[in-house]
Structures are given as structure tokens and as C-alpha cells.
Symmetry: C2
Subunit: 421 residues, 2 copies
């Protein structure tokens, strides 16, 4: 396609999406759940075909020298196809957020005012290798009454197109227009530029991928973006921490999985207990092969620690490394966190009621925890049923974004002929 053709193509996609969004916004819960179930069944039925399409993508990716981490995320197996279908069935089981009416109150004028939950309209989702995002995102958008335009990475194009066919089959079997879910069929990069600027046709953009992708999209978009940036998460061990809890939480937050955004990247410890407690925590981390990069105080106490630069305290390692700093109490801990963290998730280990309350109130992050592993910051763990990302923004949605994050509230007013005087 030429650039002009891409523009026309994306425009047509946008127009169909807007039209389909009106339909799905008013679809009943049953039709939406049926569509999700039909799609899940079609995915299971076509397991072999999907893996075959994925094979084509993998072959091309290897030829193009795609790095192994990406190859890994691109690969579909019997198991991952199964969990795609499973995910859709789970979404079908969640309560329908659309049309929920809440908080109706009578006002002094006599009118009764409340709110109704409604879809956002058309969502544009831009993502990299992982084909499971295609099924997940389609499922969340259908359930939340939105139309969606999916722009997956060019490296997954065969698999995504095969999935799109199954999604369309399910939608049509349930009596819903197939344009509710559209997969961009061109791998031309100008398509992304169109998608993130088509104000009339797209209401919100959700980029899923590396920090580079998300920053680029946020900068160029003319449509609101639900951003999921990095997770430079902290654990602060207070002087009133229970030692066993501290050991378990630091170890779990750092090492349970290294490459996730809710993994702890920095450890803070109260100077009052550093001499006694830091060696025990360090032993646990070192035992798991974690490199410690610490402040001068840390390096005095832990001989294996390497000196940390200021840059280290801003870094999301996604690796077997943790930065460490000895701080003088809760105020210093909070100040350090609010300065260095990416406002994703921070946890304090303490038995002290007042200190815990101060930490909860003053730490300015999307998840703030007491005596729990940062690894819990996740839509499933929070009971949202599914998540489309973890927002590090404050506007609209903050933290794990589930179905409600893809909706809005409109005001409803009931009167009996009421007029304003």
C-alpha cells in the first residue's frame, strides 16, 4: 500500500469501527457472552491451524533475526492457545459492566440523579509480538461494549489474521457485527500514525509493549492514551518490621519473576535496623543470585554489594539486580520513593500502625501496600477478572485496568416534569 492508500484504508476501518461501536454498546449481555464463548470454542477447534500460522511468523522472525526474548513471546503452544480460550471463557463469566446504574439520590429540586456505566466507544490497541493480546483485548472490548481496532506487530501478522477470522466467526454467530473487532491487515508503519490521530473514529489508545513504543505513541497521539510505563517498584523495611515478613516479601518481590513491571527494583531500609537486618536480607538475595548495588552505608554493611550510582535508583532492571539504600526513617523513605519511583507499586514492611498510615497516604504510586509483595499488583490478583494493562497515569484509570477502565459514567436524571426555577 502507498501512504495514501494506508490513510484511506485506516479511515475505512475507523468508520466501520464507529458504526459497530454503536451496535455493541447496546448489545445485551447474553449476546456478548455468547460471542466470547463461540470465539473460545473456535480457537480450541482451530488450535492446529493457529499453531501452523504462528509457525510461519516464527520462521520469518528467525530469518529476520528477532531476539530470543521476543521469539519467546511470539511463540504459540498447545498450552498458550488453551489459555487464550480459557481467558475468553473467564471474561464471559464476569458481570456485565455496561448499563450498571448506581448512586441514585433525590436532590432538593426533586429530581433523582445517578450514573450509568457506558462504553468508551472505539479503542485502538497497539502491541508487539504476543498473539495472546489479540484474543485478550478482543474479549475485554467485546464485554465492555466497545469496538476495537487491533494493530499487532508485523512479526505476528499470520497468527493475528487467523485469530481475527475466528473472532469474526464468533461475533457473527452471536448476531453481532464482525467490525466490532478489526485487525489492521497492513504491516505498513504509517498505519499506526493514522490510528493514533483519527480523533473522529477512535476514543482511546492502549499501547502494550516496551517503554520505547509507549513513549513514542504518547508523544505522537492526538487521542487520549492509557499508558503503561515502567515499574521501578520499592520495598521499604521499616524499623518496626517483622523480620520473617521482611525476608519473605523482599525475596518474593524481587525474585518471584524478574521480568515483570511489578517486580521490586529497589530496597530501602531504616538506618536503625540496617546493621542487624540488612545482612539477613542480603543473604537471601545473594543466595538467589541477585546483585546488590548499594549506597555507601549499604556497602559498609554488605561486602558483596557494589556501589550504586544515582542512575541506579531510577532504573527498572528487569534483571537479577536490586538497588539498595539505607534511609533515616519513614520521611526519608517516602521522599526517596516519590523522587525515584515510576509511581507503579511500593510496599512497606512494618508492624507500626502510624507509620503504615503515613506510607499509604503519602506515597504517590498507583499501588501502595503494607506487608505484601509488590508482585500482587495485577488485575487478576486485585479481583478485576482480567486486565488490559497497568496504568501509570493518574487521569481516568490508575493501576491495573480491567473492564471498568474501558468504560465511562454518564449521568441519569429522573424527573416528573421537573423544571428549573
Amino acid at each position: 500500500m502507498t501512504d495514501l492508500n494506508v490513510k484511506d484504508y485506516m479511515d475505512a476501518l475507523g468508520k466501520s469501527a464507529r458504526q459497530a461501536s454503536r451496535h455493541i454498546a447496546n448489545a445485551d449481555s447474553n449476546a456478548k457472552n455468547q460471542a466470547l464463548t463461540f470465539i473460545a470454542h473456535a480457537i480450541l477447534r482451530e488450535k492446529a491451524a493457529l499453531i501452523e500460522a504462528n509457525g510461519k511468523d516464527l520462521a520469518a522472525a528467525k530469518e529476520n533475526g528477532l531476539e530470543s526474548a521476543l521469539l519467546d513471546r511470539l511463540t504459540l503452544t498447545e498450552k498458550t492457545v488453551g489459555s487464550m480460550a480459557q481467558g475468553l471463557i473467564q471474561i464471559a463469566g464476569l458481570a456485565d459492566p455496561i448499563g450498571q446504574m448506581n448512586d441514585f439520590k433525590y436532590m432538593p429540586s426533586g429530581i433523582q440523579v445517578g450514573q450509568m456505566r457506558v462504553p468508551l466507544g472505539v479503542i485502538g490497541i497497539i502491541y508487539e509480538a504476543r498473539p495472546n493480546v489479540t484474543a485478550d483485548a478482543a474479549g475485554l472490548c467485546i464485554k465492555s461494549g466497545n469496538a476495537v481496532i487491533l494493530r499487532g506487530g508485523s512479526e505476528a501478522i499470520h497468527c493475528n489474521q487467523a485469530l481475527a477470522k475466528l473472532v469474526h466467526e464468533g461475533l457473527e454467530k452471536a448476531g453481532l457485527p464482525k467490525e466490532v473487532v478489526q485487525v489492521v491487515e497492513t504491516t505498513d508503519r504509517t498505519a499506526v500514525g493514522e490510528l493514533i490521530t483519527m480523533k473522529d473514529y477512535v476514543d482511546v489508545i492502549v499501547p502494550r509493549g516496551g517503554k520505547g513504543l509507549i513513549e513514542r505513541i504518547s508523544n505522537d497521539a492526538r487521542i487520549p492514551v492509557i499508558k503503561h510505563l515502567d515499574g521501578n517498584c520499592h520495598v521499604y523495611v521499616d524499623q518496626d518490621a517483622d523480620l520473617d515478613k521482611a525476608l519473605a516479601i523482599v525475596e518474593n518481590s524481587k525474585t518471584q519473576r524478574l521480568g515483570t513491571c511489578n517486580t521490586a527494583e529497589s530496597l530501602l531500609i531504616d538506618s536503625v535496623i540496617a546493621q542487624d537486618v540488612l545482612p539477613q536480607i542480603a543473604a537471601r538475595l545473594l543466595g538467589k543470585g541477585v546483585e546488590i548495588r548499594g549506597c555507601a552505608e549499604t556497602c559498609k554493611i554488605i561486602k558483596e554489594a557494589k556501589p550504586a550510582t544515582d542512575e541506579d535508583y531510577y532504573t527498572e532492571y528487569l534483571d537479577s539486580i536490586i538497588s539498595c539504600k539505607v534511609v533515616d526513617g519513614i520521611d526519608a523513605a517516602i521522599a526517596h520513593i516519590n523522587e525515584h519511583s515510576s509511581q507503579h507499586t511500593e510496599s512497606i514492611v512494618t508492624e507500626n500502625y502510624t507509620i503504615a498510615r503515613q506510607f499509604l497516604r503519602q506515597v504517590d504510586s498507583s499501588s501502595v501496600m503494607v506487608n505484601a509483595s509488590t508482585r500482587f499488583a495485577d488485575g487478576f490478583e486485585y479481583g478485576l477478572g482480567a486486565e488490559i494493562g497497568i496504568s501509570t497515569d493518574k487521569l481516568h484509570a490508575r493501576g491495573p485496568v480491567g473492564l471498568n477502565g474501558l468504560t465511562s459514567l454518564k449521568y441519569i436524571v429522573f424527573g416528573d416534569g421537573h423544571i428549573r426555577t
Copy 2:
């Protein structure tokens, strides 16, 4: 100031605002309420001085040939100064939204998850003539724990600076940093350009003013904008409408105040009753001096009606004019509204349960009403206590935006040493 100086000046303002926002975010309710009360008292005490400063602005405005509507909005009187102070006292009386914790639930893992309401951070407000916005916006931001940078119109600069002094006096008397509320002191237009692009220092922009101002700002901003665009509001009179209610609601929606965004600009009527009912409604409107611009059907029934162009149905008149269309039932009414309205406020007059439910669900506007005047779409009437604007966006806040619209929710997790397995 040169452009370079303006950039430095705005940068300094931004830095101070960010710092002050950390302080006000954690201020206790009492300090915030005290500040609001002190400011209100200072405004009453300095009534004469404020009116004098406003006099300087008015003199300059007249010299510059400002149009009379703007002069009107610029003018401070004893009464408007009194209601500024009254507004602040009212805001002090509202419940503190910040730190509210809700919806804590135990999850299968054993952690307990809920949310805490937190400020957005730094708000940038850009507005035209009206000096009362200075007091209102300062009050709402203080109460919601945000710092604010206010950029009023150059035509109100003397009065705004006088108000800023009183706001600072009140903040400092309550032990809060005066940088919580900063008024941009230069009338240089490049200051606006800086304000709406200082991503590091400003979290959200709220423009208050005409459509032109808001569109310009939305296009150029690199920071999220809470938009308040036009109000092309509809009243639909269904075939099952109660005649008295229909007459009262159409008249009130159109004529109670002509220049507000929640004024009705378009009347739709079911073809089944048009012949009988439209003449009675038209008589009411014509009796109030309202010009009717109608479809061919309307013009047949109402000889005083002028023919409407398609453009009319998209127009927010803010004047003694209403567009009118005879439609074939509820589906046609909803389709017309979703195509032509500005998604602000629409009302149906009907006694029919099923028709009312369909209208509520399918009309895609920020306020949808049954048997009530569109004029009720307002923060005070909805019980929000105060409003910073009426959002015609879907993301973050939709409809009248009160204190909660200036806040966000962070997740709170309570554990007892819980780790993820």
C-alpha cells in the same frame, strides 16, 4: 518579558507548583478548610479594593473595545464579590474527598484490596474574563489537595492579582504554602503555550471559556485536557408524553436562560402526535419570542416556523432560536440525537417505561434525562457542591466535574506478610 523569559518564568512557576502539590496533597482537612474560610473573609474585607482593581480592568477593557457580553462577565459588583466568598465557604463545608478509602475486599490470596482517593497533582486552569473563576478554581483545587496555576484573561489581570494576594494570605494563615495557588502574572500569550506543554509540572489542563479557546488548547496541549465544549441539547417529546410536562419542560429547557450550555437548542417530536401537540408547544415558544426553525413537516404544521438547514441541527444557538424536527418514533429520535448532538444533555418526555429505558441506554450523552428540564445539568443541581466545568469527554470525567473530577484513585493493599506463589 521576552519569550525566553516567559519560558523561565513559567518553568519556575511549574517547579513551585509541583513542590506545593506534595504539601497540599497531605494537608489535613482542617487546614484546607481554614484556608478557604480565611480567603473568604479576606475577600469580604477587601471588597472595596477588589472592585477598585476591577474598575481598572473595566476601564482598560472599554478602551480596547471589549464587547458588551465580555464586559458583563468581567464586572465585579458587591453582590458578585459576596457570592465568591459564599462559594468558598460552601466548598469548605463539603466532605474532604482526599484520603477516602473504599471497597476493601479480601482476595483469594488473602490480601485485602481497596482504593484511596488522591489528588491529581498540579492543575492548570486557563480562562477568560470572569474573575470569579479565580476564587472558585482556587477553592476547588485547595479542597481537592491539588496545586493550581491560574491563567486568567489579560483583561482581568488587576483584579486577578488582587485576588491572588488574598488567596495567599489565607493559605499562609492556615500554615499552607502560598504556591498552592499561583496566578500567572504576565499577559504574554506564550505563557499559555508553556503552561499546556509543561508535562513535568502540570498534570491536567482545564480550559474555561468559549469553544474557540478550548479547541485551540486541546489541539496544542501535550497534557491531558478536561474539555467543556458546546451544548447542543435536545428535548424529545414522545407520543406517550404527558402534555403538561412536555409544555413545561420544552419551555424551561429553551427559555429559562438562553446563554448556558445546558439550554435546549433542538426539539424533536414524534410524528404520531405532531399534528396535535406541536402547535401547543410552538405557541408557548413563540409567546416567549423564540424563533422556530423546522423540517418540512414542522413548517406545514407551524406557519410561523422558518425552514431549517441541516446546519441548524448541529448549531448551539445560545439565543432565542430552536431547531425542530418531526421524527418517526424513538429509534429515529435517538439516531438523530446521536448524530447531531454535542453529547452534552438530552431529555425525553414520556410516560412509557420501555421507551424511557431505551432512551436512557442508547443516547450517548453526558447527561440523559426523563421528564426533566435540560437546565438541571449542573454540578450544584447534581449535588456535587461545586463544579469546575462540564466535561463533554468520556475519559476520566463526564458531565459536571466536581471535586472528585480533580482526584484519582490509587490501589491500597493490606497483607500480613503475603507473598505471591
